[in-house]
Amino acid sequence: MTSPDDPGRTYRDTALRPYVLTKGRARPSRNTISIDTLLIATDPAPSLPISAGRQERALLAMCRGLLSLVEAAARLELPVSVVRVLASDLVDSGHLTARAGSPQSPQLSRDLLQEVLNGLRAL
């Protein structure tokens, strides 16, 4: 993995535009997938249809262990917005399982904040 601080790391582009990867969609099929939604491949994993793209296969392979959407995107070097669409499809098709990321509310509950605080103090 290249470090973000690596001076040799510069913006790269590919001939394949992001909208090709998402089949023209800018929005995922479900809006419950957030930047820190946790993803893991469903076990046992149903095989992907033969029409699945390289990026979908790479995402599914990346998610053989538990990690967040944004980590998967960074490691695959794809935009988060693209991976949201791909991940959403794979959840719909039963290949990926999503665990809720942070609550979809403006403020966290006191209990959750206290749990974070306890965790930080224990480090």
């Binding site: 930047i35 262990g65 966290l108």
Partner: protein
């Protein structure tokens, strides 16, 4: 991908995650701070800014529409067997947060990293306006100490940054794990206090302190 990736996965028992935003201007040390406490090497993701900048950047006279690539660095701390904390470093302006949909939604709080060396503080004002007016998120201000940072008292900084009396202001060394953990703990303690109920009536505004943006003598 490297074979070492298996170390980078979360324990399978983790079921929920929490975000803290680390905001500050370019070069203030956001990625250094994240790297000091993250259990993974900080990762970077990039998005292309197009319509978000409409009405902000003057495109008059440009032959074609320009896009800007905005990077976000982030790291992770597993806090207990079921909870992971993500730290996201982004430029301060709200339009950059909005680029990553859902980034600010449900965040535990915001750590604003500032550089108080001469000429470096101005970029922070827009951040505070956004935080005080545009969000309900608790935030703390952490002053990253560079070798040539002149120390200012908390009240001087509060006045110079025009912060509310209850907003915590702390010193930190973004390279030091213990120092960064202390700042994060301060932020979440403050968030817990706010969740407990309305803050006590604010103290009277302190007397005006010298303008720290101007060159001045060292204050110990």
């Amino acid at each position: 991908m490297a074979s070492g990736l298996s170390d980078q996965y979360l324990p399978g028992t983790v079921t929920k995650s929490v975000k803290i935003l680390v905001v500050g201007s370019f070069g203030v040390g956001k990625t250094t701070l994240i790297g000091a406490v993250s259990e993974i090497s900080p990762l970077r993701t990039e998005e292309t800014l197009t319509q978000v900048s409409e009405g902000v950047d003057d495109l008059t006279g440009l032959a074609e529409k320009r896009t800007t690539t905005v990077a976000m660095d982030f790291g992770r701390i597993t806090l207990n067997e079921s909870l992971a904390l993500y730290l996201f470093g982004t430029p301060g302006q709200r339009r950059f947060w909005d680029l990553w949909e859902g980034l600010a939604e449900g965040a535990a709080g915001v750590l604003v990293l500032v550089d108080t060396r001469p000429g470096r503080l101005e970029g922070s004002f827009e951040v505070f306006d956004q935080l005080e007016i545009g969000t309900q998120m608790p935030f703390v201000v952490a002053v990253n100490h560079f070798p040539d940072t002149v120390r200012h008292s908390v009240e001087e900084l509060r006045t110079a940054l025009d912060l509310l009396p209850e907003t915590p202001i702390v010193d930190c060394d973004a390279r030091d794990r213990a120092s960064v953990l202390k700042v994060l703990t301060t932020l979440v303690e403050y968030a817990v206090d706010l969740a407990d109920g309305p803050a006590p009536a604010p103290a009277p505004a302190p007397a005006p302190a010298p303008n720290i943006l101007a060159p001045q003598e060292v204050v110990s």
